[in-house]
């Protein structure tokens, strides 16, 4: 058995599948590396997407409440138009002068606090975090990294080594320390900042005793793989200061909360009122086009750049820039953040009603359109709660609504629709969720 902590996946032999899917899986297994996983007990099979919907080969539609890459919806025509137009004109690299790259960089940086005024482009969120760690280590002169207990920050060797979420098979760096969050430890909100600060200080102390020092406190402010722990706003601030006092940089991983997912702000860290030293971007930046970035303060970026050359062939190419530029245009013009606030409120109310009616909805947390819904009453065993959450996800998959699980015990539903979600989609989700709870509740 794998120990890769991805419970919501297809396990060969566990379910009967139709011939079409069986055959496609056999072909996949014969040619793709064994490190691939298929989501859901019964894998989904898609050939078309549009807006909030994905379609299987028989034309059946699935409501997408999970994918945070196509933030503006699947196959957004304006973003695609921008890609097609620019691809026909020029796809230049960053070693040539090209005005579009500079214009977008200015536009991107203008969405950040003034202190964050430099950017470097990458192709993926993993590359962004990998580069941010390189910068933090060079700028601080230290090696240690502090992350949360179930953090996931990406797939490169350096970043996987600070991603405990990948499971026992992927070795952690000797220089990483994991800290607990106040929420999952049951700490009252009034003591959350104290608790978090103490956690950071203990990790700093331990790393300093080993002589490695602390290069970075690396966090996703939604704490998505820890189970979505968003409150109280500001609880990270003194912990961040404690890390900084030790010479570390605070790297805000905005791959999950960034580009308006929280509704109130463009960037997740703003919710906590703390300005990071480096910010890493990925997933929704190009609505699916592979583009990411590091945005940062001038001092560490300059210190790194003075001696280290960073040339990422595809990153910042003019076509990716055109896609990302179109995303910003649509986000602003269509007032996507306002939509997130409105629609997430309707979703929160609906889930809260469900929580009142079904004791197996143990808790609900959200920041904008990123929801964590804890499943299984308190008295159930961890294994029983995990199974129930997995049952909910897979009943909903059979109802053709896509979500998944997260958290230390993977008993938290991860609900994360594209940001163009409307009231009618929320209602469809809530109806399916209610039917799933009827089916699996104790």
């Amino acid at each position: 058995m794998t120990t890769d902590l991805m419970p919501n996946r297809y396990v060969p032999g566990e379910v009967e599948l139709p011939a079409r899917e069986r055959e496609l899986i056999a072909r996949r297994d014969a040619v793709l590396g064994a490190s691939y996983r298929l989501q859901y007990r019964r894998p989904v099979h898609f050939v078309r997407g549009q807006g909030m919907w994905l379609y299987d080969p028989d034309g059946r539609e699935y409501l997408d409440f999970y994918n945070n890459v196509p933030s503006l919806g699947h196959c957004h025509s304006e973003v695609n138009q921008a890609i097609a137009e620019q691809a026909g004109i020029l796809s230049a690299n960053t070693r040539y002068l090209e005005p579009r790259l500079v214009g977008y960089a200015e536009r991107l940086v203008s969405t950040f606090p003034l202190e964050l005024d430099r950017t470097v482009f990458t192709c993926t969120g993993s590359e962004s975090n990998d580069l941010a760690l390189r910068i933090a280590r060079l700028a601080s002169g230290n090696e240690g990294v502090i992350v949360t207990t179930y953090a996931y920050h990406g797939t490169t060797a350096s970043v996987a080594a600070v991603s405990p979420n990948l499971g026992d098979a992927v070795k952690l760096s000797p220089n990483v320390r994991m800290i607990s969050l106040p929420g999952p430890e049951g700490i009252p909100q009034g003591q959350a900042a104290d608790f978090f600060e103490a956690q950071v200080k203990a990790a700093v102390h331990d790393l300093q005793r080993r002589g490695t020092g602390v290069a970075a406190l690396l966090m996703d402010s939604i704490f998505s793989s820890d189970g979505v722990w968003v409150d109280p706003p500001g609880f990270i601030d003194r912990g961040v200061e404690a890390a900084r006092s030790a010479g570390a940089l605070y790297i805000a991983d905005e791959v999950q909360p960034g580009f308006g997912r929280t509704g109130q702000h463009m960037w997740g860290f703003e919710r906590h009122g703390v300005v990071p030293d480096l910010v890493t971007l990925g997933k929704p930046m190009g609505n699916g086009f592979p583009i990411g970035a590091v945005v940062g303060r001038r001092a560490p970026m300059d210190k790194f750049g003075a001696t280290a050359r960073y040339s990422n062939t595809f990153a910042g190419n003019t076509v990716g820039i055109a896609a990302a530029d179109a995303v910003l245009t649509v986000l602003h013009r269509d007032r996507i953040l306002e939509n997130v606030l409105q629609v997430s409120e309707r979703l929160r109310l609906g889930i809260s009603e469900m929580a009142a009616a079904y004791p197996d909805v143990r808790g609900v947390r959200n920041a904008g359109l990123f929801f964590g819904i804890d499943i299984g009453r308190e008295h159930l065993s961890a294994a029983a709660r995990r199974k129930m959450a997995l049952d909910v996800v897979n009943v909903m998959r059979d109802e053709r609504v896509l979500i998944s699980t997260t958290g230390a015990n993977e008993d938290t539903l991860k609900v994360r629709p594209p940001l163009i979600c409307e009231a009618k989609h929320v209602d469809l989700f809530l109806e399916a969720f209610k039917r799933a709870l009827e089916r699996v509740s104790t």
Copy 2:
């Protein structure tokens, strides 16, 4: 001064630039990280590309004899059409069943020797090498890596640490060993295999004495950053076997030689008659769309995949797959490899004539459309040769022909046109090269 070993770059204050470029550079400097470099003493400024040509804002055309990403030419209409069509249909990730991903994986793998029958997609060549090292380390149980003296394999922390080409500012891993190539050491071709085997054996022995063992021998078979050392075919074979005897995997970095650049073969390693354990792909795979891959033998891929989950959000998305699929279609249908053979022969003859006429053309080597041309007579100092090569490159840039430098002393011209290059482009290049030699020769 930087120690990043990139001599062919813009240095502020060294040249007078027109106001338009001065202003764009000032805007770049104000918003982009300092790790960016501009190529050429006078940076080039492009707003459009087509086929073999790039165009500046005044409509002046530059002949591209350098870019190996747009292998089929800038703004290839069929590849762009494939991207636009698929972007309008679906951009799915690999956790969902989707037939196009599987079909392309089968097609890609069919271009390799039978032993190499598994693939995992990435977004960049750096991610490919990073993943290949993760696989090699897990499969071998060892940590050490052997690379050539001036190797460059990418930008992630793990890969930069085995890329001595990045210069002193980027720390090397304590577990990497650099080996010399027979060519730059002046070893006669008849002794090249012996020399190379001895180099590998010494590195293996040293790594074993440290207790780290050898996970990988990682090489680009064109040895592009070492100065383009391609002959004699087969000289690497016993060195590869020596590494394998120590439990290491041979990783062929095909980012430079792959997808037909050598003309004789689809893959550079075929020229040496050795089948690698893992192969890494990047740059030309999508003609500019960010896509890469690791192709490998079943045993190491299975061993890695059995425990490690590797989920790269953008990698293998249906749009990138469509781009890569179109590239393979065009490569086959338009008989690009045959064109490479024909055109490279014309180019080789032309450069050889120049070498006969100009003693400052010290040597010429090529495999298909990847040329290394050594500049500066033997008796000149290394610094004088380097300056002369840089002068040639920059005179040619002013003549609007794009090439650059490579090699330990950066006195080797790196000439690497898109593979659609025709006889008329070769003639234009040769004329400009002749004029440049007239200008800079001693």
